[in-house]
Symmetry: C3
Subunit: 152 residues, 3 copies
């Protein structure tokens, strides 16, 4: 693992991109919570303290749009973190640069399209497909890790 290997440089770049994409979901959640007036904690309403207490209590609720963004964020946690872990180990097994780039690029594209398909939402099976493509990329890398670096 050194910064002279192009495969590892590519991994660094794409891992950072998908992790930043995942962190963007936090900001999207904050945006929807404020625009929909749907908060999870009473103390989070400090920006609307001028409103009566009764009305503010009603703002502790689960809004469908907020929940949709949170499910998308959760799906990112469940898929992007396995990609980062397996991708790191995969980079160390010395794959071809072009093969590695295909894996990283397809995964990054599939997760960005997944978010678009989830948040808009686009009709299925667009989201199911983007999710599946990301899964297949991670499985393909895991297969190479297990076949080249197996020690049970």
């Amino acid at each position: 693992m050194d910064m002279d290997s192009p495969v590892f440089l590519a991994f660094c770049t794409y891992a950072t991109i998908v992790i930043l994409k995942m962190m963007m979901m936090s900001f999207m959640t904050v945006f929807f919570r404020f625009s929909r007036g749907a908060f999870a904690n009473l103390e989070d309403q400090y920006v609307c303290m001028d409103k009566p207490a009764e009305e503010r209590k009603k703002m502790i609720k689960a809004d469908p749009d907020v929940e949709r963004v949170r499910r998308c964020h959760q799906n990112d946690l469940e898929n992007i973190i396995p990609f980062v872990v397996i991708g790191l180990l995969y980079s160390l097994t010395g794959p071809d640069l072009s093969t590695a780039l295909i894996h990283f690029r397809v995964f990054a594209a599939s997760r960005i399209l997944h978010t678009v398909a989830y948040v808009c939402p686009l009709p299925q099976p667009s989201r199911a497909l983007t999710w599946m493509i990301g899964m297949v990329v991670t499985f393909s890398m895991a297969y190479r890790v297990l076949t080249t670096a197996s020690y049970l």
Copy 2:
């Protein structure tokens, strides 16, 4: 960190195994969502578009079995990711191969048994015990990392 060190090879293998196990939970969630007819998004019902809209609206619900699998998946996220991070750093501290293998094997076994105990479900304290064993393994590796590689 190189692919000639047996400890690091063992880490690669077991980290990949537990991450793959975690990813399996996604498929289990999909299976239970379809078999129980309990979806999180309206657009996910594209396979049963022949049913009347009213009936489909009732399928946006939280099914106990689906929620159980999702809690198990969440528990994996909360325990397997710390293991992978701390395990990676632990592998770099140069532990004995046999000691490292015990850590990795016990953790992998405890998480597989944890999933069995959660999803079946087996009577407690089987799940509590498997969870605790995984925790102890991660703490033991964290202790070695902090004592051999401390720089505050």
Copy 3:
């Protein structure tokens, strides 16, 4: 990545500290579940099997304090894992030791204060600020990774 580099040693130390902090949330959840009598699974009530079945069924509920701790844990997953991933890549780009230490220390402090602000809870915007500071640290490290190790 070797154990002779002080930057990498510092990363190991602070990554382990924030991951351990995140794992502490599991124990806090268990503590609140038992003290509030609010469980997620029927089989988890094995410690109060002397109570009548009716009463135990009522203990399958969402308690506000338990949910608060779980939201805090979820926020840790959403923020600490990106820090660990980006921080690992950042450590490999060869930053100044003092700059790296500032990043790691500020992040660790911000997440510990975030937990205090969330669980107590302290009045806002204390939690929002601690969350934002952690985010900025991760973005700053991601910026360095992308500018020094870019390979698209």
